[in-house]
Amino acid sequence: MAEFNEKKDGFDRVIEFMNSKFKKLLKNLSKEKKDFLQEIRIRAGMPTVIVCSNNSFILDGSESVATPVDIKEIFNLLCGYSVYSFENQIKKGFITIDGGHRIGLCGEYVFSGDKISAVNELTSLNIRIAREFPNCSKDIFEKIKNDFLGALIVGPPCCGKTTIIRDLSRRFSLSEKLKLPKTCIIDERLEIASCHGGKVQFNIGLSDVLSGIPKSAGIMMAVRCMSPNIIICDEIGTSEEAMAVKSALNCGVKIIATIHAFGLDDFLKKPQIVPLVNSGAFEKIIFLDGENFGKIKEIYSMEELYDKNYRNYTFNNVGCSERIHIL
């Protein structure tokens, strides 16, 4: 575990990828801001904004205004001068660098048919700093470990869903009480374990990692090749993923996944939850408190969710083994 303690803080790591102008600018931030920094938003011709966990700040001075050249330089540094090695990620609008930090890209996207073929002239970068919070999933783990049949973690963006499932993977895979369950992480965007140079960058215990693979294909591959007890993946939602989740469930694998939503009301309005809930893979739906990191707001069992008969949604009150219908 010494290796993880020696690892550089997320902020220090991200600073290494900045050009000299932004390196100087960001190094001058106060310690408090550095510690709570979540995002650095760099826009061409506009002052840089930093988003901390409690507030957002516009950086003062003309130096904080990024030029297109600055954005290009930072982008090249982030790519390690090798744009081609991030080709597939760039086409999806982001890149994930060493350390699991994800960078959102805005610019002029060039289409060939209905597919993105290139990105011209980047106009803004959103650098999201990944941090590790050991034991942040303690409450969730305690709630679900005994009668664990799959859990869906629901929360607003930037509330720590990925950090929580990373910690959950560590806890489950190292749990001797649960007989060291075989845990497999499907890390499509290299954010959960962030494998670089053949090493995981975060402490994920004894979990196996499938990196860079689409979640639906990764779930099936893990089921076939790794015989896992638990599969963990982030931001699930498409119909293919729901199908894969159902197939994994049929093979006796438990799933822990996350999904974006601001609360139960918002969750129930999302069309992509229908196939996921119908799959019957998620015994517990855990809603996170967006304001307090790692805190549980509400937990629903599937039966409770069916019973809720919420607003204009109608559920069949028949238990989790039956399908639900959302009108």
Partner: protein
């Protein structure tokens, strides 16, 4: 003795050029394959690339500069300046310099095309320098040895 030495110096000049261009072509071929099949970042490819001098010196300088300059183009050019006596002419230098400015700046198919284009550009120079080494290199050795023998006969 000095005549023989100067003959071999002329020959080694041609030899250096051939050796550099051959290694450079090997490097581009390896680079192309790594980009195509493993998509490893340039820094990693450069660090793992094993070759002999004079190219190894050039590659290691380029890797060193990458940590300092923060730009691949600048590092490539700076390494080129440092390793001045590679025995290659102005045109060949331009081709190699231009390659550095496009490296790592686009997607995989673009990079492969750049590599192919650069190989097509540089290969004729290797062929001609091999021919030159064969004809002029040997000729210079023979001439210098001949002249030195003649001078020694005259002196005796």
């Amino acid at each position: 003795m000095s005549g023989v030495l100067s003959g071999f110096i002329f020959y080694s000049k041609y030899n250096l050029k051939v050796s550099f261009l051959t290694q450079y072509i090997n490097f581009i071929t390896v680079l192309r394959n790594e980009i195509r099949y493993s998509q490893k970042p340039l820094v990693e490819i450069l660090k793992n690339f094993r070759c002999e001098n004079p190219l190894s010196k050039y590659i290691s300088r380029c890797t060193e500069y990458l940590n300092k300059t923060g730009s691949f183009k600048k590092s490539w050019d700076a390494a080129f300046k440092d390793c001045g006596c590679l025995g290659i002419s102005g045109e060949e230098q331009e081709i190699i310099k231009n390659f550095g400015s496009t490296l790592g700046s686009c997607d995989v198919s673009g990079q492969i095309h750049y590599c192919d284009y650069n190989l097509d550009m540089i290969k004729p120079y290797l062929l001609s320098s091999k021919e030159k080494r064969k004809s002029k290199g040997k000729l210079s050795v023979i001439l210098c040895v001949g002249i030195s023998v003649l001078i020694s006969i005259v002196l005796i």
